[in-house]
Amino acid sequence: MTITTSIPRKTQDEPSPNLESILMLASGAALAGLGIWRRGWTGAALAGGGACLLYGAATGFRRPYQGRVRVAVTIVKDSEEIYSFLSNPGNWAPFLHAIELENRGAGRLSLRFGNPPGIDFESQIEITDHKPADYVAWASDHAMLSHRGVMRFKKAPGDRGTEVSVALEYNAPAGPVAHALAALVGWHPEQVVRESLRHLKQLLEAGEIPTTEGQPVGARGVKGAALRVLHREPPREAIPAPLRATGD
C-alpha cells in the first residue's frame, strides 16, 4: 500500500559536529569493545551496534530523517470488534508501546513519547479521515516528528479474522545516530508501531499481554544487566500492576 503525503522535504542542514556525535563516538566504542570481548551472537550484535554508532558519529551530523513504517498483523476477531475496542480511549494505554495517546475530542489526539530523555515531547494528531471497521487516517505536523498514516482493517482469508495494518511516513529532524539509538532501546517509530500492534493482538486474542516483569531471578551481575539493555528489557525486574483489557 502506498500513502501519499505532502510532508515537505526539509532542506539539508549544514553538517556540523554536535553533542550527539560525540556521545555516539563514546558509546559506539564502548559497545564495540564489549561486543568483541563477549563474542558469539550477542557479541556480534553488540559489536555491530557499536560499529553503527561509530559510523553514525563519523557521518551523522544532524540531518533530517525520513522514514516509512509498514506493519501488518492478523487478529482472530472480526473488524467490528477490533474497531469498537479501539474506539474506546480507555483501552489504549495497556497496548501502546513507548507512547501515550490521549483523546482531545473533535478528531484530535495528543501523542506523548513516554519519558525517554531527549525525546520527551507532546504533539497533536488530527484524524483526517475514517470509516468505521475499515480505516482511520491521521496526520501530525510537530517539529520533532511529523507523520501521516493510515490503519486499515481487512477481512483475512478463511477463518483467520482481520488483517490489521498500519502504514505511516514520518519525518524527524534527528540524525541517523539518534535513530540507531532509538532502535537500540525500542523507541524507533517502526518498533512503536510493531510492538503496539502485537500487544493489541495479544490483548484481544489471549486476553493479556505476556510478561516476565516481576519474576524471580538469580544474580544478574554487570554482564546480565548489560545484556538486559541489549534485549530491551528493564535493567531491573520491577513488579508492575497486572496488564489487562479494561473495556470489553
Partner: protein, 396 residues
C-alpha cells in the same frame, strides 16, 4: 526459594531467589515436586543458545502442586497436581486453535528477537533464553505458570510423579518425532541418538506400528536401553560407513523414515566433523549437523526425515541434492506438547508405557550443578536425571 541459575557456559549454580508470584491474572504458582534435566538444557549449559542472561532460572521439564491461582484462572485450583508442557501457549490464536501449539502467536514477550533471527516467533518456552520469552524455569522450588488454564495437565490419582513428569517434554517429543514419520505397516525407522528423546522415539515408533527400529549411538548403556525397547542397535563407532551399514541391514532400501534425535551438538570424527567443530568454536556457526547429513543420505526414497533434535542457525553442507533427488519429506520443530496430553496420559494409564524407564539418576536440586556435568559427559551411565527440589542434598 532455591533455584538453579545459569551463570555462563559450563556454569550453573543453586541460588536463593525470591519466590515467584502471580503477575498476570491467568497465572498460577506451583510448588515443584519433580523436575528434570533435558538434552536441550545441555545446549544452554554448553553456551550454544544465544540471548541467555546470567541469573536466568533454568528448567522446562517440571511438575508440581498448585499453591496459588490468579483471579482469572478457572480450571485449576489449589492442591491440583499438574505437569507443565514446556511450551507456553495462549489457547486462543490461530495456531493454538489449529493444534500447532508451539507456534503460538501470543506468549513470547520478546517475540521481536525471534523475528530478527528466524523471521517469525514461535511460542515461549520455560527457562530457555530470552528470545524464547525469558520465562523463569522449573528447576526451582516454585514456578510461575502463565496461561494456567491452557497448558497444565492434571494428573489422575494414583500415578506417581516419575511416570507422568515426562509428559512435559521428552515423551511427547519422541512421540511426535515418530508420528511425523507417518509410519505404515512393514516400515523400518532409524533413530540417531539414544538419549531420552531417542528412547521415547523408539518406543513410540513401535506404538505407532513400525516393523523394525534401528537405534544408533555410541554409549553401551544407551544402546542397551534401546534394545530393551525392542530396537536393533548400531554402535556408529564400530562400523566403517554408517550409511552403507544401514543399507546393508535394510535390504539395500535404506530406512523408510529417519529420526535425528541428536541435534546441533552431534559428536563425530573425520574431516567433516573437524570442520563443524572448528566453525562452532570460531562462532561462525551454532550447529554441527553431522547426524542430519547422515540421516538425509541414508533415508529411503520418498521417505521422511523427522527432526526433534534442536538446531539453532544456518546449517552448512547439507546434502540437499540427495534430499531433492529422493523426494524426501522433512518434518521438525518444537513439540506441540499440548496436542499429545490426552493421548499419552491414556497410554500411561493403560500401562502401554511406563516413562520412568528412562530415569537413571534421582537426585536433589542441590545436586543439579554437578548433575549437569554427569549428564553431559555421560558419566556414571547417566541417561536421565530427575530432581526433587525439596530433598536434602546427598551427603557429600
Amino acid at each position: 526459594m532455591k533455584a538453579l541459575c545459569w551463570q555462563g557456559k559450563n556454569r550453573v549454580r543453586i541460588e536463593q531467589v525470591d519466590d515467584p508470584r502471580i503477575i498476570n491474572d491467568r497465572d498460577a504458582i506451583v510448588r515443584v515436586t519433580r523436575t528434570a534435566i533435558c538434552g536441550s538444557d545441555l545446549h544452554l549449559f554448553d553456551g550454544y543458545i544465544p540471548t541467555m542472561e546470567p541469573g536466568d532460572i533454568l528448567g522446562h521439564e517440571f511438575m508440581g502442586e498448585v499453591v496459588e491461582v490468579g483471579p482469572e484462572v478457572r480450571k485449576l485450583k489449589r492442591g491440583d497436581r499438574v505437569v507443565m508442557p514446556f511450551t507456553i501457549a495462549c489457547g486462543q490464536c490461530y495456531y493454538c486453535k489449529n493444534d500447532l501449539w508451539s507456534a503460538c502467536d501470543n506468549t513470547n514477550p520478546n517475540a521481536w528477537m525471534m523475528e530478527k533471527m528466524y523471521g517469525f516467533s514461535g511460542s515461549a518456552l520455560f527457562g530457555y533464553s530470552h528470545m524464547m520469552g525469558g520465562y523463569a524455569g522449573g528447576q526451582a522450588q516454585f514456578a510461575r505458570v502463565p496461561f494456567a488454564d491452557v497448558g497444565p495437565i492434571k494428573v489422575p490419582e494414583g500415578l506417581p510423579d516419575d511416570q507422568v513428569l515426562f509428559l512435559s517434554d521428552i515423551f511427547p517429543t519422541g512421540f511426535m518425532a515418530a508420528e511425523n514419520c507417518d509410519i505404515k505397516p512393514g516400515q523400518v525407522v532409524a533413530v540417531w541418538g539414544c538419549g531420552p528423546v531417542g528412547q521415547f522415539a523408539i518406543r513410540s515408533a513401535f506404538l505407532l506400528g513400525a516393523e523394525r527400529v534401528i537405534a544408533i549411538d555410541r554409549y553401551a548403556e544407551r544402546l542397551k536401553m534401546a534394545r530393551a525397547g525392542g530396537a536393533e542397535i548400531i554402535n556408529y563407532q564400530e562400523v566403517d560407513d554408517l550409511v552403507e551399514e544401514l543399507k546393508w541391514v535394510t535390504g539395500g532400501r535404506g530406512p523408510d523414515a529417519v529420526i535425528d534425535a541428536v541435534g546441533l551438538e552431534a559428536h563425530g570424527t573425520g574431516i567433516m566433523a573437524f570442520y563443524d567443530y572448528s566453525r562452532q568454536r570460531m562462532k561462525v556457526s551454532f550447529d554441527r549437523p553431522m547426524v542430519l547429513r547422515q540421516a538425509i543420505q541414508a533415508c529411503a526414497k520418498g521417505g521422511v526425515v523427522s527432526i526433534p533434535g534442536v538446531y539453532g542457525g544456518i546449517l552448512d553442507k547439507l546434502p540437499f541434492g540427495s534430499a531433492f533427488g529422493k523426494g524426501l519429506i522433512f518434518k521438525m520443530g518444537q513439540t506441540h506438547v499440548h496436542r499429545y496430553r490426552q493421548t499419552l496420559m491414556e497410554k500411561i494409564q493403560a500401562g502401554a508405557i511406563d516413562p520412568s524407564f528412562v530415569i537413571t539418576h534421582r537426585l536433589s536440586l542441590d545436586d543439579a550443578p554437578e548433575a549437569y556435568f554427569t549428564f553431559r559427559d555421560k558419566q556414571d551411565q547417566c541417561i536421565k536425571v530427575v530432581l526433587d527440589p525439596w530433598q536434602e542434598a546427598r551427603a557429600a
